[in-house]
Symmetry: C2
Subunit: 209 residues, 2 copies
């Protein structure tokens, strides 16, 4: 197998949607799953599924398909979901609270260990069993926890300021749920989650019917 190039974004984005289907197949005791089967389930082309799976390094068997157990491992390893990653949530408002309570993240190897907020009522409490700390303690607590992923769910106004603090505290990956384009040094990865772009897609698709 040739070493996969800088991974194609569309493929990386599709891979997570394959996992539940394959896991489901495993729980039914199947040993193999074909690209065709996955494609049908998601209304994709089989060739696209095969190409996507190829970047994980998995090898299928003609006629049978891909070995379920190895395929799950390959996808998880490729995405870095085989090792549980600790993360903190910064901003324990509506969205932050929702994300803390989002069960599925555990399946993606994402483990939220703490929240930070500036609301005195929240500081010292727990949300879905996760402790909430004063946001002013991030500079000390983040290095202490040894965490390097932060989920940013603060109000837009303080997004950049908070990100700066996170980066100084040693965070190297920010999952940004604010609608702010964050400025960050090149060693820090910022992934922006933009709800309005999804809604824009819905609206334009609805109009073209």
């Amino acid at each position: 197998m040739e070493t996969p190039r800088i991974s194609a974004a569309p493929s990386v984005r599709r891979l997570p949607s394959y996992l539940p289907i394959i896991r489901n197949m495993r729980s039914e005791g199947e040993e193999y799953i074909s690209g065709t089967t996955i494609a049908q389930e998601l209304h994709l082309e089989a060739i696209q599924v095969r190409k996507d799976l190829a970047i994980t390094g998995i090898k299928g068997k003609p006629k049978k398909g891909y070995p379920v157990e190895l395929l799950i491992n390959a996808i998880e390893r490729f995405l870095g979901w085989d090792i549980l990653q600790d993360a903190v949530i910064v901003g324990v408002g509506n969205l932050g609270t929702a994300l803390i309570g989002y069960q599925e993240f555990q399946l993606n190897g994402l483990n939220i260990i703490a929240g930070f907020d500036n609301n005195p009522k929240k500081i010292g409490s727990t949300v879905h069993g996760i402790p909430v700390f004063n946001i002013t303690t991030m500079d000390i607590n983040i290095p202490f926890f040894g965490v390097n992923i932060a989920i940013l769910t603060v109000p837009t106004i303080c997004a950049q300021e908070t990100a700066d603090t996170l980066i100084k505290a040693g965070i190297s990956g920010i999952w940004n749920f604010t609608n702010t384009k964050l400025k960050a040094p090149s060693h820090v990865v910022v992934q922006r989650e933009d709800l309005s772009s999804g809604y824009a897609m819905l609206c334009t698709k609805m109009r073209s019917r």
Copy 2:
């Protein structure tokens, strides 16, 4: 201007991120904004911004840029955000509650008027000022409200079943926050919002540093 073809998805997805910048320009009293300015703000190429704006039908002035007021109108009209759209939230759990409380939606012309849930403790209460109804009343209440957008935030297990009920009740657009590929007739638009694909991007980008 030639009629824009079936709108290019990447452009549609980027357009919403231009709006806050342009609105900001307006609030500063500027009359024109150049594609260059927007591009710098978002770390994009100016030519890409110009191409994206072109699909809205806006015309710019060489040397000056685009007229701020008309540009905002053009983008909003193109996305269908100039007219307030009513929507309901189905599943008032953590995520549903968070989305009801998400202020920004008003700026996108999205107006959440009601929630539905099966939890007796929630039925009859209000969440962020929005009334929550029994999920079994959707078949009656949705036609009554005359709403045709539903935001689906129920647990994965009942996603398809709930979607079927929504469609029967006359919903024509579903913003699907469950990680289920919904089966729907062709006149219904389903837009899936997949958090795990964003997290996959973050993880693979972090590893490649």
